[in-house]
């Protein structure tokens, strides 16, 4: 990540000060939230499907060794070449080496968050290979020279007005009319011949089907199909947690994934890639490579709490429904994955020390868990990071000191009553017209809102008196 060393809080404040960003976030996540809500009214079996989806993923995760080997066997039988990468660097090096081996001048890429995770865009650029992002939103990200801000809508942070300007600057034959159709047509004109002239295509996978060795990719633009068909070589990169036992299982997961992500019943395109071009096929790649990436996943597998995160389908529902994400957008999170799921994953990839804010910048309201299609207890996992951060001494000394005193006092009821009485007296000293004003220590609250004055005496004190009189 090329993030300047700016603190999370500062990044957050910059995002909060950007009204255009807020408009962009609200348009995308608001639409996603509404569409998902409608889809759920037409999906009465959601709870049952979610339970099944959770069990399927849990089963696969518990038997990952078995399914990985089964997948590898079947993929090889279909003519694919399977590569294993234990780290992000290893994975991107394998892909770059395959591109070089194929003498690739130009590669087309289908949006894949795993590709972002392993730093593939950067690695390809470094290797001097022309990289063409074919997903419309990724095309916008590439034009802007920035990073995805959402895992389903990578260019969520751009309004269509901003995109229009970008296209006018960058496209050879830009749109004349300010309509979405005209803008899409402009991108299509720009990208179409590149689709056809690429040497290698690189895609991700939404599912890896163990019993056929196929990979499954969903898109709404058809770019995955157009990207992966003409070039001589197709490389798939996928996290090892993407496995499902069979195509049937993939379809159940697809119902959960698509409705949770966009609210649609199905994506426009659901494509299964199984091996390279066979004799008699009219098209398809001559070489088909699958790079299976660990990058911290087996470490998560060994952790009883984080293991649950391996169920994640990358639908983005958690972020669409997160009050914090909807104020900040994705870049503030600083990692590959933003929002609640990103707050769980980023410490795995980037280390807890530099991402400890993510677990704390959460109100623990539980909405993410409620909408998660595989019922990942995200708040519990975030609290797990808070625990670890506390144990590893990463939390500020002031917090440790304050909570230590608090526990000492709260373990002694008389002292606690005395402390409450003093706090009330002090707050009332600073009170005017029912509100506490200008009291030191309350600044973080009163900067933005009023703090009510407490009653003259505590409940416990008044209760003691009133019960004496009963």
């Amino acid at each position: 990540m090329q993030e300047a060393p700016v603190s999370f809080k500062l990044r957050a404040d910059r995002a909060l000060a950007d009204p255009t960003l807020k408009i962009a976030i609200d348009r995308t996540t608001g639409t996603a939230e509404r569409k998902r809500a409608v889809a759920m009214t037409q999906f009465p079996q959601f709870e049952a499907a979610r339970e099944r989806g959770k069990r399927i993923k849990n089963h696969v995760i518990a038997n990952l060794d078995h399914y990985l080997l089964e997948f590898e066997r079947n993929a090889i039988a279909s003519g694919a070449k399977v590569h294993w990468a234990s780290t992000a660097e290893e994975a991107s090096q394998i892909v770059v080496a395959l591109c070089k081996q194929a003498n690739a001048k130009r590669v087309t890429r289908v949006k894949s968050m795993l590709g972002e995770e392993i730093g593939l865009p950067h690695a390809l650029d470094e290797a001097g290979i022309e990289r063409v992002e074919t997903d419309l939103a990724e095309h916008i990200v590439q034009l802007g020279g920035d990073r995805p801000s959402h895992i389903v809508w990578p260019s969520m942070h751009r309004t269509r007005e901003q995109v229009s300007e970008m296209f006018k600057r960058a496209h050879r034959v830009p749109h004349q009319e300010e309509t979405i159709e005209a803008m899409v047509a402009s991108a299509r004109r720009e990208l179409r011949d590149k689709f056809l002239s690429a040497d290698v295509s690189i895609s991700g996978a939404n599912f890896l089907i163990a019993d056929t060795g196929a990979t499954c990719t969903v898109t709404n633009e058809g770019n995955a199909e157009l990207t992966t068909t003409p070039p001589r070589v197709h490389i798939v990169t996928a996290g090892i947690e993407k496995l499902v036992p069979s195509t049937e299982h993939a379809f159940l997961m697809l119902r959960l994934l698509v409705r949770s992500a966009t609210g649609a019943d199905v994506t426009q395109y659901t494509t299964f890639h199984c091996g390279p071009k066979q004799a008699g096929d009219r098209d398809g790649p001559e070489e088909f490579h699958i790079v299976l990436v660990d990058n911290g996943r087996t470490r998560m597998l060994a952790d009883p709490a984080l293991k649950e995160m391996l169920r994640c389908l990358r639908c983005g529902a958690c972020m669409n429904h997160c009050v914090v994400f909807r104020q900040l957008g994705g870049h503030v999170y600083g990692g590959t994955y933003p929002g609640p799921m990103g707050a769980v994953l980023t410490p795995v990839f980037d280390g807890l020390e530099q991402s400890r804010d993510l677990a704390h910048a959460c109100t623990m309201n539980g909405k993410c868990q409620e909408v998660c299609p595989v019922a990942i207890p995200i708040p519990t996992l975030l609290r797990g990071w808070r625990d670890r951060s506390w144990r590893e001494g990463l939390e500020p000394a002031a917090a440790r000191f304050g909570l230590g005193i608090h526990t000492f006092v709260a373990s002694r009821p008389r002292l606690y009553r005395l402390g409450t009485a003093i706090a009330i007296k002090v707050m009332r000293l600073f009170s005017r017209g029912g509100l506490v004003r200008g009291m030191p220590g309350l600044g973080a609250w009163t900067k933005y809102r009023e703090f009510p004055a407490p009653a003259k005496r505590s409940f416990m004190a008044m209760y003691k008196d009133s019960e004496g009189k009963r």
Partner: protein, 262 residues
């Protein structure tokens, strides 16, 4: 998420330990007295154990499991002897019910005690409706109100219909629906001061929705969230007044609202 919905007859004069909660104790005792009155009206023998302090939620949410366990064990010892434990806060009750077994997981005997006590620990509104089948007596208040469903009560305890059922019995009181009633207000305990600018952005959207509801009163079941929302409303010069739902049900709706001079 469990919605405790008992169909059996309410227990006859159960012994209830009132879990006052820190914020109610220090900031707004009227909520505690309202809870006391409602529980007594519902036929409970209510006691307020003097040994109670804080449930440990600040420590738990900071990742300080050791201090949480100290306070959790204290809470269990203090309240274990009662038939029921009832508190006027979804978040504090959620802490003891949903999270004590987690916080004490290293000690199976204590975790089991926590689980057993949790089964008898209720948020006030849900206890009154689900366990006591209580209907408030002759309460009148001519006002319109909107209701914010605080997250812990809603998602950890299934508190949604109960406060509405009770408030519906107050004559003269009409509900104006709140857009995004189940969306977090941005309080989040220490979150609101640790990340105050983010919290402010969230509560600003919430108060806009409250204003759009056109209601005169904002009601809820958690004092923390109510202080956050009413604090923002006050800063914005709003006329909307905030109360804990228990205060309205106990006939205290004519008194000062949160942030008004007593």
């Amino acid at each position: 998420m469990t919605t405790p919905q008992s169909t059996s007859a309410p227990p006859s004069s159960p012994r209830v330990g009132l879990f006052v909660t820190c914020l109610v104790d220090a900031m707004r005792p009227s909520v505690g007295f309202a809870a006391l009155k409602l529980l007594r009206d519902a036929g409970c023998r209510v006691e307020v154990p003097e040994a109670q302090t804080c449930c440990g939620q600040p420590a738990f949410n900071s990742g300080d499991t050791a201090d949480t366990a100290v306070l959790a064990r204290r809470f269990i010892e203090t309240f274990e002897g009662y038939d029921y434990v009832v508190g006027p806060s979804g978040s504090c009750v959620g802490m003891t019910r949903a999270h004590y077994p987690e916080a004490l997981a290293d000690d199976p005997a204590w975790a089991e005690r926590a689980r057993r006590l949790g089964e008898r620990t209720y948020e006030l509104m849900s206890f009154l409706v689900d366990v006591m089948h209580f209907t408030p007596g002759d309460v009148k208040l001519d006002a319109s109100f909107t209701y914010h469903d605080s997250c812990s009560g809603l998602r950890e305890l299934g508190v949604f219909a109960q406060p509405r059922t009770l408030l519906d019995k107050v004559s003269g009181l009409t509900l104006k629906p709140l857009e995004g009633n189940d969306v977090c207000c941005g309080f989040g305990g220490t979150f609101c001061v640790k990340y105050s600018s983010i919290s402010n952005a969230v509560v600003t959207e919430k108060t806009a929705a409250i204003e759009r509801s056109g209601a005169q009163l904002l009601l809820g079941g958690d004092l923390g969230c109510l202080m956050n929302m009413s604090g923002k409303l006050k800063r914005q010069g709003s006329k909307v007044r905030a109360f804990h739902a228990a205060e309205i049900l106990a006939g205290m709706g004519k008194g000062p609202a949160i942030g008004e001079e007593d």
